[in-house]
């Protein structure tokens, strides 16, 4: 470079092209995701009680502390480091997936694991291989299975009245036995005896394993006991549509994901009704909807190009089906997502884009 003294004195602004930029920014993307999660969050509180809110607060504080530690260790500017709201999204997703009544130290550990190990050990935002929220969820699920299953609640309408702020706080923060509250919530249902486990998915799985699934089959998702799943799915779809409208996510991803799950589930159910759930149950139960719009669409941990992302979605959906039906855990979204994350680089290579001008014949236009 050879800037003459004369020119340097003119004190003009120097900047690389392009000089105009799109309005969309990373903090804004994260903000949109947070906004899109609000309806689902409210619905979850309505059906699962205020435990979810407590979990969110705990996860947020924990992840914030972790981010500050990381910023300090890597000598980043704190303001700039916290400008992306990715840790809020992680906290929110953790709150939505963890059992609502799990003690606070578990949540704090899970979120610390997600932020410190899964995200920042790999190089920070954008460098992580695995989805932080899902990894944190699985970390807890594997390391503390008993408390994990004992704190799950059965969704029921107006649960927030029973599991109020105080009631859930006493369990989560003070460590009281959650059994009482769980029973209360379950009693809220009309046919409480159908559900043997905490959730419908868990119950039907045990039922199918033991071969007595007549009672629990053909349930009405619009009825009193099971409409929680329906409304929750609706809330996730609402948020998803918002994200699609704001061009944060590709509509092809959730679409191909849901279609694969539905068709796959439907076929498997017809082939072996004693083993698999029906297509619609696959769609509404567990974390399918959450995964479709908020987990698999995480840009960092999936393939790069549009084509690769669709392949990723379909692969993830197939994994969910397989683990859900054949695996021992009741829900499989988190496992499937992590497995698919691991294959994302391979998908990237396999779906390499053809370069410009391939198929061009010499002489061009005739």
């Amino acid at each position: 470079m050879q800037i003459t003294v004369k020119s340097a004195k003119q004190n003009l602004g120097i900047e690389t092209a392009p000089h105009i930029r799109d309005n969309m920014s990373t903090p804004r993307i994260m903000l949109y995701v947070i906004i899109a999660l609000v309806p689902a969050f409210i619905t979850t509180i309505f059906f699962f009680g205020f435990g979810v809110l407590w979990q969110f607060v705990i996860a947020l504080i924990s992840s914030l502390i972790c981010e500050v530690i990381v910023a300090f260790l890597r000598s980043y500017k704190l303001k700039h480091h916290l400008a992306d709201h990715a840790y809020i999204v992680t906290a929110l997703l953790l709150a939505l997936t963890l059992p609502p009544l799990i003690p606070w130290y578990f949540t704090a550990t899970a979120s610390a694991f997600a932020i410190l190990v899964v995200k920042h050990c790999f190089g920070g935002l954008g460098q992580n291989i695995f989805n932080p929220a899902m990894a944190g969820f699985i970390f807890l699920m594997i390391s503390a299975p008993s408390s994990f299953y004992q704190t799950y609640v059965t969704p029921s309408a107006y649960a927030y009245k029973i599991a109020s702020l105080d009631a859930s706080a006493s369990i989560i923060l003070e460590g009281r036995d959650p059994q009482e509250l769980r029973m209360q919530l379950k009693a809220n249902l009309e046919n409480a005896d159908i559900i043997t486990g905490a959730t419908y998915l868990e119950s039907i799985k045990t039922a199918k394993k033991s071969g007595i699934d007549d009672q629990i089959n053909n349930i009405d998702f619009l009825g009193h006991d099971f409409n929680a799943y329906f409304y929750l799915a609706l809330a996730y779809i609402l948020g998803g549509i918002f994200l699609i409208a704001t061009k944060v996510i590709l509509f092809q991803m959730p679409l191909s994901f849901l279609i694969t799950i539905f068709i796959g589930g439907y076929i498997w159910h017809n082939l072996a009704p004693n083993v698999s759930l029906s297509g619609i149950e696959h769609l509404l139960c567990g974390g399918t909807m959450l995964a479709a719009f908020f987990i698999i669409t995480d840009p960092v941990t999936n393939a790069g190009t549009s084509k690769g992302r669709i392949v990723f979605s379909i692969f993830c959906a197939l994994l969910i089906l397989l683990i859900r039906v054949q695996g021992s855990y009741s829900d499989s979204v988190a496992f499937a997502v992590l497995l698919a994350n691991a294959t994302a680089p391979l998908i990237d290579v396999l779906t390499k884009r053809r370069s410009f001008g391939i198929g061009y014949k010499k002489g061009g236009l005739q």
Partner: protein
């Protein structure tokens, strides 16, 4: 020839889509401000690096008076075009000065102090270009300095030449009026105001290329330009079948040649191929207009339309600016009220660059001069981490995956970057535009490309060095072998001497042979003497000396003749002395004197002759040129050229005038 299926689709007006692209805010605020011509500035600076080439020559000197449109340089090779004075005035300097480049490089520039009279050279236009052959028209286009005015500044004549070279047939000529870059409206205004002239230009290019179809592509955000162009086209009955106006959707970067070809024909031409070799030629509207000016009016390219815009300016508009006008002059004319850290951008907001100094000239590649305020265009926010959102991959018109490329480039993995297709990157800036983390992708790619070319150059140099090394080693080996052989021979000789068999016989034989050789030589020398004395000196023989009117050179010539004679004499003497080796020293001296006395007479005569020949030859050149005896003129001119390099500067100028006559 029957048109193919693809071609008939194109004829019917089918439009294709290219991959990616963005839709930035158009910001075309100067769409309705007419083009106004700026006054003559106080100083004109013309960068010469694109007008010289390897063996180029500057035709003017400091202090010379130049007229508007006068040719300033004679470029070496056909890749460069000559520079023209954009106004009349005095050449004040030919020196290094700052170029319009983002880094503020300096280069050789020619500065003219205008006299504000704008005295033009005579422009000889061709009224009926249809009678002129395409080749000649292309030469005229080159001589008038026409280069692509869309921003890339590719030489137009070369492009046209490549399209009609042997083996190539031009099927489609596309006039690029897309102007996809936001803010820029210069092409738009030109189409609105000079539609008829542009159509005339299209006619000329169509005459050169003989395409089956001419398409004028205009983006649909320029309704006035579309209207004006179709009106102008309707007036020309003869072009109705050939030329079509194609309205294309507004999408950046549809104005890039390959993307425009994809939109109009559905063909993707790889970046490794030239478009003109594929039977498709794309030219900017302003270039076509310049071609019309060059052919019909005979004007060289000395002005161009530039959009001047930005919130820091109190006046906005399109200006017809003389090439070489400084950016400072333009901004002053448009009332710049600078901010703190005011950015001045040459080119559009997506591909233009900020300049470190405003004392740089406007060149043929300048489409816009922007002086944005921070309300207009914000300063680049700090970069954040890439979240691999894939937006860049979805907008890249070259079908690349920019975030991957960026990662490789940042990690200095140049080979991987190359594999990812860094060469296909057009630096259009789409990826940087959409990036939510505000990463300067395009800037990194620009850097990566520069590094790649540096690496390639280094490799080439290495290769050359290795070659040289190999040659040297070979030479050394050969020399060593020769030395060995010599040594062997010498050893053998010594051995033979020691043996001493027929030594005396051999010696006698050798002496005899030497004597015979010397005798022959002496006779030859004598013969030569008599010849030089006797012959009437042929003027053709001493033609090499004819132009040495310079006294010093003539002296040199004389001396050389003398020297020759002396040498001959010396050699003769030496031979004599070889034979009669016992001759005493003083006698030998006397012999030299004798020789000189003998030759001096002839010497004077030769000099006389050369003088006469000088005069005669000079007259001959002029008479030959006057009488247009081509052969004689060319041969004599060639002789002049041969000697030209040795001649001093003032003589060379004479030669140029002579050539121009």
């Amino acid at each position: 020839m029957e048109a193919s299926k693809q071609f008939s689709k194109i004829m019917q007006g089918k439009l294709w889509k290219f991959f990616g692209g963005i839709k930035p805010k158009e910001l075309k605020r100067t769409q309705d401000t007419p083009i106004e011509e700026l006054p003559i500035p106080a100083l004109i600076t013309i960068p010469l690096d694109r007008h010289l080439g390897p063996d180029g020559e500057i035709l003017v000197n400091v202090g010379d008076y130049v007229k508007t449109g006068q040719v300033l340089t004679r470029p070496g090779g056909t890749r460069y075009v000559p520079a023209h004075a954009s106004t009349s005035g005095t050449v004040t300097s030919i020196a290094m000065s700052v170029l319009p480049h983002p880094s503020g490089f300096s280069g050789l520039c020619l500065t003219i102090k205008p006299d504000n009279k704008d005295v033009c050279v005579d422009f000889n236009g061709i009224s009926n270009f249809k009678e002129v052959s395409p080749r000649e028209l292309i030469n005229i286009i080159r001589d008038r300095g026409i280069e692509g005015l869309g921003g890339a500044q590719f030489q137009t004549a070369t492009k046209l030449q490549a399209a009609i070279d042997e083996g190539n047939v031009c099927n489609l000529f596309i006039v690029n009026g897309a102007e996809c870059e936001p803010v820029a409206t210069c092409d738009d205004r030109l189409m609105q105001e000079k539609a008829d002239e542009i159509i005339q230009g299209v006619d000329i290019v169509a005459h050169i290329l003989q395409p089956k179809l001419v398409l004028i592509a205009i983006e649909d955000n320029k309704p006035n330009a579309i209207k004006a162009m179709s009106l102008a086209l309707q007036k020309r009955e003869d072009l109705k079948d050939l030329v079509q106006i194609r309205v294309i959707p507004t999408l950046y970067p549809s104005g890039a040649a390959r993307n425009l070809i994809k939109i109009l024909t559905g063909i993707e031409i790889p970046y490794s191929e030239h478009t003109s070799e594929c039977g498709i030629v794309v030219d900017n509207v302003e270039t076509v207009f310049a071609i019309k000016e060059a052919i019909i009016d005979g004007k060289p390219l000395i002005k161009r339309v530039v959009t001047v815009d930005g919130s820091s300016l109190h006046k906005k508009g399109n200006a017809l600016i003389r090439l070489g006008t400084s950016v400072r002059f333009v901004l002053t004319n448009y009332n710049l009220i600078p901010q703190r850290k005011q950015r001045i951008i040459l080119g559009g907001p997506l591909m233009g660059f900020t300049i470190p100094s405003i004392d740089v000239p406007i060149t043929k590649s300048t489409t816009c001069v922007l002086a944005p305020s921070t309300n207009d265009m914000e300063f680049a926010p700090p970069e954040m981490n890439c979240i691999r959102c894939g937006k860049c991959a979805r907008v890249c018109p070259s079908r690349l995956v920019p975030y991957q490329l960026y990662a490789y480039s940042k990690a200095q993995k140049h080979n991987e970057a190359k594999k990812c297709g860094i060469d296909d990157c057009t630096e259009c800036g789409c990826c940087s535009f959409v990036c939510p983390s505000k990463i300067r992708l395009a800037a990194q790619f620009r850097k990566e490309k520069a590094i790649a070319s540096l690496i390639a150059e280094n490799q080439y140099r290495n290769l050359r060095a290795k070659e040289r090394m190999a040659i040297r080693n070979e030479r050394l080996e050969k020399e060593a072998k020769e030395r060995e052989a010599k040594k062997k021979a010498a050893l053998a000789r010594i051995a033979m001497q020691k043996n001493g068999t027929d030594d005396a016989q051999l010696k006698a034989k050798m002496i005899e042979e030497a004597r015979a050789r010397a005798k022959a030589k002496r006779e030859a020398a004598l013969l030569k003497q008599t010849e030089t004395q006797a012959t009437n000196i042929d003027p053709v023989e001493i033609k090499g000396n004819m132009l040495m009117s310079n006294a010093g050179l003539r002296q040199e010539a004389k001396m050389s003749i003398k020297l020759d004679i002396a040498l001959e004499a010396d050699t003769a003497l030496q031979e004599n002395s070889n034979i009669k080796a016992a001759l005493p020293f003083n006698l030998r001296q006397g012999a030299v004197k004798k020789h000189y006395q003998g030759y001096n007479a002839t010497n004077r005569e030769i000099v006389k002759h050369t003088q006469n020949v000088d005069i005669i030859e000079y007259k001959g050149v002029h008479t030959a040129i006057e009488s247009m005896d081509k052969n004689v003129a060319i041969t004599t001119q060639n002789n002049i050229l041969n000697t030209a390099k040795k001649l001093p500067l003032n003589l060379r100028k004479d030669k140029n005038q002579c050539k121009l006559q």
